[in-house]
Structure formats: structure tokens, C-alpha cells
């Protein structure tokens, strides 16, 4: 069957194309009787108006963009589920863009949103992103933005985060309570607020107990798992080997376990491990993994709801505020005796 066009509907009903077109914009110029006749035939022939024609008329695309560093990470994939659950309800379509942690790619992606492709953007920034010009430019051109998880703290819009600083503190305090005195913190970025805040919380807990925590205790990792295994292995070979590791993002977990296996360091006897992670396999790891678990679904849901509220109210400006959904410490064997 060919695609049904508005022209075909007009011909079939012996109406002008302009009349039929006005039915689909629900114009007051058209009688109720004519509307019913057109809509009945449209339904019968399964005619769906072209969404982009409708976008041009209404200047709305009914589409949002979600810009993420990576989708092969439980936090982001669960957050997408949260975003999608709201978008579906509100009749919005969701475009996905991956930056792969590259600022250039993030810029290139955002530059395409200025022209009406999307009504709004949800973004979790790359670990290279230290300036927000590409984001504020887009906002000034009328595309609202809501940050989630990885945010720019100075950008005047709404940010959905979790309590990263308190979670860092909680993780370190849990390790101190378990007897650890030399804690290493694995980071992926010096600039990302999630990394800085988790580290600051950790530092605060150690300082409160007058425990040392110097530059050597913070270890920068990369995007490459094999390389991370070697970085952590070298950490475990130090004469003053740490007695605990805090992995500040989920993807570092496997590298920690593999490095311990390689260096024959036993978790939790010789090294206690805690990770920021949403992986549902944490409970069945060897040993099971103590985690700081982020409210990924609810953060995605809240980010989408915030954006849609602004869009529904004709681009009501988004408040420059941070909404915090707390994380949970789940204690398992990797920090036990």
C-alpha cells in the first residue's frame, strides 16, 4: 500500500488541500462536521500526518536528546530507562548521543541542536568537559538543558545529582570503621564534580580521624581496562600498599578485582574494596562487592520530568538549582573481615 498523503484525502473527499490541512491543525475555520469527515477517512486509511510538517507549524519537535558519555555502564543504562518511562508517557521521542568522554564530540553533537531538532536536552558531561560555553550557547538559542549526574556546577539551569560528597564520606567512614588506615581513591577525572565531590568527602572523613591522605592516595585511571589493571597492580606493589580501595566509578570495579587476582592480594583480608556501582552482579562477585548505589532510575526520571515541566509551560525558565537524590551504601563481603 502506498503512503496516504493529505492530497489523497482531499481528492477522495472533494475538499481543498488547504481545508484538509487545517483539520489537522484543528483550525477554528473548519466546521465540526468537516473535521469529523476528514478524521474518519484518515483513520480508515491509517493516515498519520508527517511529524516534521507538524514540527515546523508548531515549532515543536516532540523530541528530546539525551547526551551521555557511554551507554555500556549500568548507571547510564538504568537512567535511560527512567528517562524513557517519562518520555513515553508524555508522547516524546528520545534521541541518544554518546560522547565517549570526548569534549570535541560533545560540542559537535550540541551544535546540531540549535536548529529545532530537539525541544530540550538532558546531558551528563564527558570527563574532558571543563568549560560550558557550548552548553550555554545552546541555552541562549532557546534549547533548555537539564544536567544529570555529571553536571556543570556554574551553568544556570537545573542539575539532578546524587549526594556525591556525603557518599564519599560514607564510603571512607565505612572503611575506617572496618579498620583501614591507608585508603586509595581511584579517580577518572580531576575536573568532573562527581569525582571531585566523592574525593572531597573521602578526604573529609579521613581528616576528621587525623588519618593521612596525600597525593599518593589518589590514583588516576584511564578509559582502558587493561591499562587500569596495570595501574592498580603497581599500586598494590607499593611498599606501603593500601589496605583499602574506593573505586569512584563502576567501570573500575573489574580492573580492581583482576589486579588483585594478578598480584595475589586477597579481598577483603588484605585489601577492602568499595565501589560506586549500579551493577546487579555486585551481589554475586567473588567476594560480593560493597557498593555505593546511585538512584539511577529516579535521577533519569526526575531529569526528564523537570525538562518536560519546563517545556509544557512554554519554556518556563529552568531554575539554577541542584536537586539531590541520595545514594545508598550496601555492605557486602568485600569490606568484611
Amino acid at each position: 500500500m502506498p503512503n496516504i498523503s493529505m492530497k489523497m484525502l482531499a481528492k477522495e473527499l472533494q475538499l481543498s488541500l488547504s481545508t484538509v490541512s487545517k483539520v489537522f491543525t484543528d483550525s477554528h475555520e473548519i466546521s465540526e462536521q468537516t473535521k469529523q469527515k476528514v478524521l474518519a477517512l484518515a483513520k480508515q486509511l491509517n493516515y498519520v500526518p508527517n511529524p516534521y510538517a507538524s514540527s515546523l507549524r508548531k515549532r515543536k519537535s516532540k523530541t528530546i536528546a539525551v547526551v551521555l558519555p557511554d551507554v555500556a555502564d549500568s548507571f547510564f543504562s538504568v537512567a535511560i530507562n527512567g528517562i524513557e518511562s517519562v518520555a513515553r508517557d508524555k508522547g516524546y521521542h528520545v534521541l541518544i548521543y554518546l560522547t565517549h568522554e570526548l569534549l570535541d564530540r560533545e560540542r559537535a553533537i550540541l551544535s546540531e541542536f540549535q536548529s529545532g531538532r530537539v525541544d530540550g536536552v538532558l546531558i551528563s558531561i564527558s570527563n574532558e568537559t571543563t568549560t560550558d560555553c557550548h552548553i550555554t550557547d545552546m541555552m541562549q538559542r532557546g534549547v533548555p538543558v537539564v544536567f544529570f549526574d555529571r553536571v556543570c556546577e556554574e551553568t544556570p539551569t537545573t542539575r539532578i545529582t546524587t549526594n556525591d560528597r556525603e557518599s564519599g564520606q560514607l564510603a571512607a567512614q565505612h572503611l575506617i570503621d572496618a579498620g583501614c588506615r591507608n585508603i586509595a581513591f581511584l579517580s577518572i577525572s580531576e575536573s568532573l564534580p562527581i569525582s571531585r565531590n566523592r574525593l572531597a568527602g573521602c578526604r573529609q572523613a579521613l581528616s576528621a580521624q587525623r588519618l593521612p591522605f596525600g597525593a599518593d592516595n589518589v590514583v588516576m585511571c584511564t578509559d582502558d581496562e587493561a591499562e587500569n589493571v596495570q595501574i592498580i597492580a603497581r599500586l598494590l606493589q607499593r611498599p606501603d600498599r593500601p589496605d583499602a580501595i574506593i573505586a569512584s566509578v563502576e567501570k573500575l570495579t573489574a580492573a580492581v578485582y583482576l589486579a588483585c587476582k594478578q598480584e595475589k592480594v586477597s579481598i577483603p583480608d588484605q585489601l577492602k574494596v568499595i565501589s560506586f556501582s549500579n551493577q546487579n552482579t555486585a551481589a554475586i562477585l567473588n567476594p560480593s562487592l560493597t557498593t555505593i548505589t546511585q538512584p539511577a532510575f529516579n535521577m533519569g526520571k526526575m531529569a526528564a520530568e523537570t525538562l518536560f515541566t519546563s517545556l509544557r509551560k512554554s519554556h518556563l525558565p529552568l531554575k539554577a538549582e541542584t536537586l539531590v537524590v541520595p545514594s545508598t551504601l550496601i555492605v557486602r563481603e568485600s569490606t568484611g573481615k
Copy 2:
């Protein structure tokens, strides 16, 4: 700064709106000199043509839809990476839709694609999908479809799969070689080809060795993890407890491990376990998990490349054929001694 419109460019350059518009469609009616003048100002003012206006003119949206059961599954999230890597290269945008294994939702999603929103669709069907009318309808209206992983075998278009039957056989043969004689197969669907083919392969390997494999050996699981733990626990309580389990999809892995813990069944001594899984934590589970690992990235990439080739050649019809990318058996401790 307000959004720059075509009208503003025309006014600034004292040209007609129609002339400026024709520059952006690269019309032969416009002189090279005028084109350069318009494009230079457009660049200076950072003007980007509205993509939906351009879509209407060219009848191309430069957008594809990816329809998936779920994104919180390593196979699908890695496949998205593969799809996105190709789409980015080709200048396409990627819409993501999740069916959550519901046929009704899959139908509702596809019904929106008939009107020009997307140029093509990549789909992995829900486990409720037993008919393909909603898919063939869409194809007949000119929207090309490529299946990947979970396919409709009768639909006349290209399918990207892995060698599910051989992988099922390989999994069962590996367990037979390890001494197992009573193998249980955990399924999530009676209709999905991936489930049927993996099961058929398993049955073939057992039958070749004249080992029994009856209806009792196939256990249907659900979408709910807690429920699956109980289903598997009951399997482990049977007087003729199986000596091996094949988990036919990744999300069943955690339920198997948790049920074994609950029932105090030791892996691999009392029960050997093998799972179809792409999780990067397989190597650090307790014990580490033997997997059939699917080429998720390459399957996503190949599906996208196949679709884009058809789109580039003005909707060259997609061949009704199945392209097979083989899976790999990775032996770890869960099937060891």
C-alpha cells in the same frame, strides 16, 4: 541572542527569501557568487537550517529508530555502541525506543514511524512478538527494517544474528565433556528464535550422546529476578536435581547464582553453570562464569551498515537473508572441576 532565521539572512543581504532558501538546497538556479555570500553570512551568524524543513524538502529525516526490549542488558547496550559508531560516521541521528518485552508497546512504537519520522528501523523484537504484521505493514509503507539478534524468521528483510543453534550445541557439549548428564535449560520465551535455536542446539548435542532431555529439563523464567530465584530454587530442590544449568540469556545469571547460594548448592562442584552473556563482570564472579559471548558490537554495527547501504542507494530493497556473526565460548571456573 535570538535564533537566526532565513528571513534575517535575506533581509541583511537584500535578497529574496526564495533565493536564500534555494542556496540551502544547493539549487542550480543560484549563482556561485550568491551562494558564497549567503553561506559566509550564515557561518558568521551561526545559522543552521531547520532539519525538519530540510526533511520535508528531501523526504529524508536522517534519523533511524532502534527498537529494543531493554537497555539495561550488556548485549543491547554494547550493540547500541556499535550502531551509534556507524550512525555518527554517516551523519544519522538515533532514536531509542524500549518495548520492555511488550508486544502492544512494540506495535504502538512502530505505528509512529509510518509518517516520515525515521528513514529506517533496526529492531530486536520483544519476547511476546509472535506475528510480524506490524512490522510488514511498516515495511510496505516504505520504512526499511533490519532485524538484529531477536528476529522474525519469515519477514522478507535482512536479519543479523549470531549462530544461536551452534552455540546452544557448543554449550551443551562443553557440559557433557565436563561429565554432566542432567542438564537444565533456562528459557525466557517459547517463540523467540534465539530461545528456540539455542534450545534446539542443546537438545541436539544431548540426543547425539543418547542423553535424556525431556520437558522437565526446560524451565521457563520470567522478567522478575526475585521470581526467577524461586523458580530456580525449586529446580534445585527436585529429587533428580540437574547437574548443570544453561542460562539462555544474560539476565538469568544473577538469579542462578543467588538461587545456588540460597539452596547451598556449590558451583561448579554440585552444579555447573554456563550463560549466554556479554557482562564484563563474568570474569570476576564467584566462581568466574563460563559464557557464550555474543559479538554484540559487531552485530549492531553490521545491522546499521546494512540499513545505511540500503538508504544510500535510494531504498535499495533489503535482501531477505540472514547474516550470521559467530559467538564465542569462554571457559571459566563455573564449568570446571
